[in-house]
């Protein structure tokens, strides 16, 4: 073979190899799972002078890209419609959108964006991320349990936040003997299309 031919062949192989490398280095993006609103719920419980008071968010969306077998490569993002908070008590429902509480007109959404997902046992994950409510952002780590039945999965878990860190309940309502600082958030998310555990 002539020098020119050898050179051309080498160059061609080099170029092919270079072209193939990115495909080898880049991990496959995790498949997106869909949130099934009908079977999903985000609830929160606080205490008013010792009395447990529970509310729910009626509207929220989620972007979930997760391969349960490789959780570190996954991501989870939520957007919650703050105006959809309901307590089932007329006066409470009328109070919560106000500026001392969720200030819905200024902050129509509360969001969560994951920064890390770790496996924590069979069907269990620790999802760390940034929670933003009323313009204030704090890191939370949420323990999630996933149960699967065919193509349907259910993710459940609870975690606590401190409402004053997000300025929810300001002025006179900052008094934690009236409404406790601790708020338990409880979620149940019905997902379709999540890859097998």
């Amino acid at each position: 073979m002539s020098a020119t031919t050898r050179f051309t062949l080498t160059l061609a192989v080099a170029l092919l190899a270079a072209a193939a490398l990115p495909a080898l280095a880049q991990p496959k993006a995790p498949a997106a799972a869909q949130l099934v609103a009908a079977g999903s719920e985000i609830a929160f419980v606080t205490r008013q002078m010792g009395v447990p008071v529970e509310g729910k968010f009626g509207k929220f969306t989620a972007q979930i890209a997760l391969d349960p077998k490789k959780p570190e490569a996954g991501s989870v993002a939520f957007a919650i419609d703050t105006g959809s908070a309901r307590f089932g008590a007329a006066e409470t429902d009328a109070e919560v959108p106000k500026s001392e509480w969720l200030a819905v007109s200024r902050f129509p959404q509360a969001t969560f964006k994951s920064t890390a997902i770790k496996a924590a046992g069979p069907g269990r994950f620790d999802v760390t991320g940034q929670l933003t409510i009323k313009g204030h952002t704090h890191a939370v780590t949420v323990p999630v349990q996933v149960a699967q039945s065919g193509a349907a999965s259910t993710a459940t878990g609870t975690f606590a936040i401190k409402r004053l860190e997000f300025k929810v309940g300001e002025g006179d309502w900052a008094d934690t003997s009236m409404v406790a600082d601790d708020v338990q958030v409880r979620f149940k998310l019905a997902l379709s299309g999540l890859a097998p555990l």
Partner: protein, 178 residues
């Protein structure tokens, strides 16, 4: 020497203690329901409920005492007055239970379990149900106002007996006697 037969000391104590508690709780209840939502209103609602439950508990004690300790015989009075006073007392005893029980049910139906003094959770004997709460709310208010009306008559009649008939009736319930 005073020979007016009196109620027993525990009966007298319970009467005045509960009279004070009922008056105060009624006054707070009437005032608080018109307030706009605020921490003060939340405080008053809870104090009202705690007081109401305490009244309910003490009313059991009071009833048990009454059933085991006969009050002094009536002072002489026309038969219709004696009948009316007995009926009023029976009605009051019924309301001592009905009013706080209705209030407790209203609170549960409205979705606010009663937590006595913020520490002892009491059971919900009715479920959280908006329609039910709207049904019970006026029952609690109406029974409370009926009780207040009977109390007004009760006080007026007692004063009439003592100061118009001059039959020493108030001495029967005077603290420090017996």
């Amino acid at each position: 020497m005073d020979s007016t037969p009196t109620y027993t000391r525990p009966a007298i104590a319970l009467h005045w203690l509960l009279a004070l508690a009922l008056f105060g709780t009624f006054a707070v209840g009437a005032y608080m329901s018109d307030l706009p939502v605020s921490p003060t209103r939340l405080k008053l609602y809870n104090w009202h409920k705690w007081a109401g439950v305490t009244i309910l508990a003490l009313s059991f004690v009071r009833l048990a005492w009454r059933l085991t300790h006969r009050p002094p015989a009536d002072v002489p009075m026309p038969a219709w007055q004696a009948k009316a006073s007995h009926a009023a007392h029976v009605a009051l005893y019924l309301l001592f239970f009905a009013v706080p029980l209705a209030g407790w049910a209203y609170s549960s139906a409205a979705g606010f379990p009663v937590v006595w003094f913020g520490v002892l959770p009491l059971p919900d004997f009715v479920p959280k149900d908006k329609a039910l709460s709207e049904l019970i709310k006026p029952v609690h208010a109406t029974l409370a106002f009926a009780m207040a009306a009977i109390v007004v008559v009760h006080v007026a009649a007692a004063l009439k007996h003592h100061f118009v008939d001059r039959d020493g009736l108030l001495d029967r319930m005077r603290p420090g006697r017996a």
